[in-house]
Amino acid sequence: MYKFFEMIEKLLMGPMTKLSEQRHLRAIRDGIVSTMALIIVGSFFLIIAFPPIPALAELVKPHIGKILLPFRLTMGLMALYASYGIGYSLSKSYKLDGISGGILSMAAFLLTSVPVVMDGTGWVLPMGVLGGSGMFVAILTSIFAVEVMRFLQTKKIMFKMPEGVPDSVARSFEALIPAAVVITVIWIIRHLLGFDIQTFIMDLFKPLVTAGNTLPGVLVPIILITILWVSGIHGVSVVGAVARPIWLVLLDENVKAAAEGAKVLPNIAPEPFFQWFVWIGGSGATLALVLWMLFSKSDYLKKLGKATLLPGICNINEPVIFGAPVMLNPILAIPFIIGPIITGTISYIAMALNLVTRPSVLAPWTLPAPIGAYLATGGDFRAVILVLINIAIMMVVYYPFFKAYENKLLKEEKQNQESTATL
């Protein structure tokens, strides 16, 4: 078993953590994460517009258009906000001016759109691609913008300001040439040559997005995340760096359908699927393990169970993973990896058969799972039932391994007592 852990460390952890620490992926992750508050708050307006209580739904119906505006201007522009965040983080990582990089990235992204004139309104920017569906466009244009900036800077192609010019003034002049290059290049490609950059990039990533919504597409991240956590590495932060753009595109398609009042949403596997139905109590669904620990005969496990129950309900499980520990513990690692594969498959099937509404709302991840699942599905009580079923399944999966580990600890505790008694 220890050989197995060694192998994981060498084959999987090293390359994967290195990949997630790669400069551009890091910028993408940090940039997208910086928009989360807007997305979470914005998507709550979706619940307000379509409340799960019929009487309330009737009441708000005439105002849906107005209620959805904050949602449209946050979630609906997600990729635009992210392009700033990504450009900012990436230029910071190159020790370039973050604000210049962020603004230039935003301009590069916007330039891939074609504004149209509407009677009575004037110029209008089509919003369809500025939300989650344009995430990959935002990522690539932001990287392009900052890389151009860096290239020109390292080649020393820039306006030199004489000494004594204030820093902020000098900086705005330094940004002139990169801005000219980025804007001109995208303008020529998109508007003079008429090459549709947005559609091209979206088509390019479509197979990846489609794959992310299949059962294997759900199980691969589940397995990678649990295996990384078993080695003591934050699995979601590593895997999410690559998978989150895909999850956001999936979420965006669901959210658009939900805002139009659709009964069945197109996608099963945006991030809330994992968050609420699989990671109950944290990665590896450790809430079930904590519940067993509360009733343990081992002093240590009982104490730990009490200390980790509240964090566990809020989906914080580092105390369990490092405390029990699950990390590098062959006995507890097995259910930690196997269990989520089972609950993930069951939840996927339940949603494929439309027994449970598919997720469309991003709720804060520290909410207790039944509440989070209820909100994420726009108020479907069957989601709560699925969460409870999954907790029960996880308790069954953990039980034999928990007992085996408990017995091992009990033996050790007894030995300790005997050795101190003889002293």
């Binding site: 590495i233 964090p311 809020c314 914080i316 499980n317 105390p319």
Partner: protein, 101 residues
């Protein structure tokens, strides 16, 4: 007064460890100020006069990135041992902190 900065993924799990350190330090009569931040806030926060930086074990793969800044500021930085990163690991962690000072 020893100022200790903790870094974890979102600043959530380390908030629990903050309590463990404070409790353990109070027992030993040591004056500490402990703050937990997520990896995103680290670069800015680390400049605010901290004495040591402790990195949560689950983000230890990002240590080289954190180290870069800490080194410039001459602040000792270490990854918390897995045993120390547990609600019952306060003592263990305190030893590590003392070793760094």
């Amino acid at each position: 007064m020893t100022k200790i900065l903790l870094v974890c993924s979102g600043g959530m799990s380390s908030a629990i460890v903050v309590k463990a350190i404070e409790r353990e330090a109070a027992k030993e009569g040591m004056e500490v100020e402990v703050k937990a931040v997520g990896t995103g806030e680290y670069n800015e926060e680390v400049k605010n006069g901290w004495n040591i930086v402790l990195v949560a074990p689950q983000v230890r793969h990002r240590l080289p990135v954190f180290k870069e800044v800490a080194k410039e500021l001459n602040i000792p930085i270490e990854v918390i041992s897995p045993q120390g990163y547990s609600p019952l690991g306060g003592k263990n962690l305190m030893q590590q902190i003392k070793g760094m000072l």
